[in-house]
């Protein structure tokens, strides 16, 4: 038996479901859209998010150019982005990236991604929601934050 917050007794699933207020979030991986604290954008529609990430002429409201902060394209996070934002096949995405290299910054860790988003003007990134810190802002997508029902950027 092990107990955690809100009296969750691990070895008694029925007790868990029947007796206690269970606040655990049973979720697949969810990505947060993160920007610098100085970025005034707090919400985007899914369509605007796609324009932004496809560098489709989109700029930030203050006129800054968009810089995308990416992990390796084969990472799980990028696979979700591919599926939910770009809606492209991997090869197509590679070609797209090659033609937009100047606006993409590749990082190798979550810490690097957070630092880049904080410090590079106009930067925006995608990060596992459980890694967000209060050094960055999280942008709503279609009025929803990560872990809210119906949030777009969730998946494998």
């Amino acid at each position: 038996m092990s107990i955690t917050m809100n009296g969750w007794v691990k070895n008694s699933c029925l007790v868990l479901v029947c007796l206690f207020l269970w606040q655990a979030r049973v979720e697949a991986k969810q990505l947060a859209v993160v920007v610098a604290k100085t970025n005034a954008t707090s919400a985007l529609t899914a369509a605007d998010l796609a324009k932004l990430f496809k560098l489709d002429g989109a700029k930030w409201p203050d006129g800054k150019n968009v810089t995308l902060v990416f992990f390796d394209p084969s990472s799980a996070d990028m696979q979700i982005a591919l599926q939910k934002i770009y809606k492209m096949q991997p090869d197509e995405f590679k070609t797209w990236m090659a033609s937009h290299r100047a606006s993409i910054l590749f990082v190798h860790s979550e810490e690097e991604l957070l630092k880049a988003v904080e410090s590079v003007p106009g930067a925006v990134g995608l990060i596992d929601v459980y890694s967000i810190t209060n050094r960055i802002n999280v942008v709503k997508v279609d009025g929803k934050l990560p872990l809210e029902q119906g949030y777009l950027l969730r998946g494998n």
Partner: protein
């Protein structure tokens, strides 16, 4: 004699005065853990620390009572209020203590304030600020054992097993004698299917608390998760030998026999557990016992047993459990009309005026609606499934409860799968991987989407699913029979499980 009495009175007064004196500084560090604890009352501090010790050795009621005493001694003791809000079982106490923590936050130190921000946001279902505050606490105070322990436990509560592990490993390195960290680490390893590490951590936990029943109970549960039923039985018996009143181990024994297919023996063990149980345990374990007839395929006796438990639940005012009995009956019925009738009956019970909290009623309502959707799909009535899904979506949208959300995901996945929309089905089903119905649907969805390796992994996971639920009883044994699988999950070559599995 009089002089001695006077001296003794002075001594008692001095003791009482010392206990009431504020700490020499407004903040002081707990030497054992380093978390900053702010209180003006030495007695409150002592109760708080005793509460932590009690909680970390799983004496939960004692822990809560000590924290309650701490807040009575010092009503401005914000950290004690917030821990009560997180660990109390009574939902009304959770909310009132959270509000008291927020009201008294200004009296707390900076570290405590971050913890209060994190846990109060959690309590309000504000997940983004909660995570930000947790990571901030870990960044600034990651060397403080209690902060790391809280964060690891918090992640486990969010079912983020893999993410909790580095924190438990840090705790094990910081204090190799911190028993609770070994126990919790073992569960996280087990949930990420790293059973070798789980058993090693459990071994250490057992060595640290040789006279306690819980290490054996934990060892038993993890053995059962790994499909090692004989080991599970031995450890449950060892726990009961140490403390015959540790009845969760008695129930564990019964659950294990049920999973092993020894249903008659399971019923005997459930009866022993029920004889020593509280009212709510008696009804809950009565449902488990009734499910043994389902495992035997004896629907008639199952009906009688579930009807009996439904009546017990009704007489004790447990409307959610009464509804659960009818809903469970519906789940194994072969006749669709009878199943629908039972599901209607379950919903009617939930609609009655009940003394049970709305949270619990909503949780059961979600499972009833999910069962209706499964049944409609089984009967080929996709429009009915879609209409019920809308009801479940509305319920889920108005609830912050994760089990309601999980049921919505399971049902959405089932409907999308029935429509052949594999990718979207996968997205939902992956959110409910502890439900054998969802795992079974996930296998089909992966295959439909061409992800055969993932389908194989999901199949192995389903075959190795050993939680004693009615869903397990209805899905897993049949799946094993059809696929010639054993109850032990096998790891494919190349260690693909850890990289492919999302926990």
């Amino acid at each position: 004699m009089k002089g001695i009495r006077a001296c003794f009175s002075i001594f008692l007064f001095a003791c009482a005065l010392l206990a009431w004196l504020p700490a020499t500084a407004s903040q002081s560090k707990r030497p054992r853990t380093d978390i900053t604890v702010t209180t003006r009352s030495a007695r409150a501090r002592a109760h708080f620390e005793t509460g932590l010790d009690k909680y970390q050795t799983l004496h939960v009621e004692d822990a809560l009572e000590n924290w309650r005493k701490a807040t009575r001694e010092d009503p401005h003791f914000a950290l004690a209020h917030i821990l009560l809000s997180q660990f109390a079982e009574d939902p009304t106490e959770q909310v009132s203590e959270r509000d008291k923590a927020l009201a008294t936050k200004k009296f707390a130190g900076k570290e405590e304030q971050v913890v209060i921000d994190w846990l109060s946001a959690t309590s309000k279902g504000q997940w983004v600020p909660a995570i930000q505050a947790m990571n901030s606490a870990l960044h600034d105070y990651g060397a403080h054992k209690e902060v790391v322990w809280l964060a690891a436990n918090w992640l486990v509560a969010q079912q983020q097993w893999a993410r909790s592990l580095p924190l438990y490993e840090r705790l094990n390195a910081m204090d190799p004698n911190f028993a609770d960290a070994w126990n919790s680490a073992a569960y996280s390893y087990a949930h990420t299917r790293q059973f070798d590490k789980a058993f090693a951590a459990m071994q250490r936990y057992t060595e640290l608390l040789p006279g306690e029943p819980n290490p054996h109970d934990s060892f038993a549960e993890i053995s059962r998760m790994a499909g090692k039923f004989d080991d599970a039985l031995a450890h449950y018996r060892a726990a009961l030998k140490i403390d015959p009143s540790f009845i969760v181990s008695q129930e564990g024994l019964a659950d294990t026999y049920a999973l092993m297919g020894e249903e008659s023996r399971a019923r005997t063990e459930y009866a022993t557990a029920i004889a020593k149980a509280t009212n709510v345990q008696a009804v809950t374990w009565g449902l488990q016992s009734a499910a043994t007839y389902v495992r035997e395929g004896n629907d008639a006796l199952a009906d009688l047993a579930f009807e009996d438990v439904a009546m017990q639940a009704r007489s004790r005012g447990f409307g959610n459990l009464e509804a659960q009995a009818y809903r469970t009956m519906a789940m194994y019925q072969r006749d669709g009309a009878k199943a629908r009738q039972l599901l209607d009956k379950a919903l009617a019970v939930l609609d009655e005026e009940q003394q049970v909290s709305k949270v619990l009623l909503d949780q059961e309502r979600a499972v009833v609606l999910r069962s209706r959707i499964y049944r409609a799909i089984q009967d080929g009535d996709l429009p009915a499934a879609t209409a019920t899904l809308k009801q479940l979506e509305d319920l889920s949208g108005s609830s912050a409860d994760a089990s309601v959300t999980a049921n919505f995901d399971s049902a959405s996945g089932a409907v999308l799968l029935a429509r052949g929309e594999y990718l979207d089905a996968i997205m939902h089903l992956e959110s409910d991987e502890r439900n054998p119905y969802s795992l079974r649907n996930l296998i089909v969805a992966y295959d439909g989407n061409g992800a055969h390796d993932q389908a194989e992994l999901a199949a192995q996971r389903l075959a190795g699913f050993n939680e004693p639920t009615i869903e397990q009883a209805l899905v897993v044994p049949a799946f094993r029979r059809n696929h010639g699988a054993a109850p032990v999950e096998t790891k494919p070559a190349g260690g693909a499980i850890s990289s492919a599995r999302r926990m």
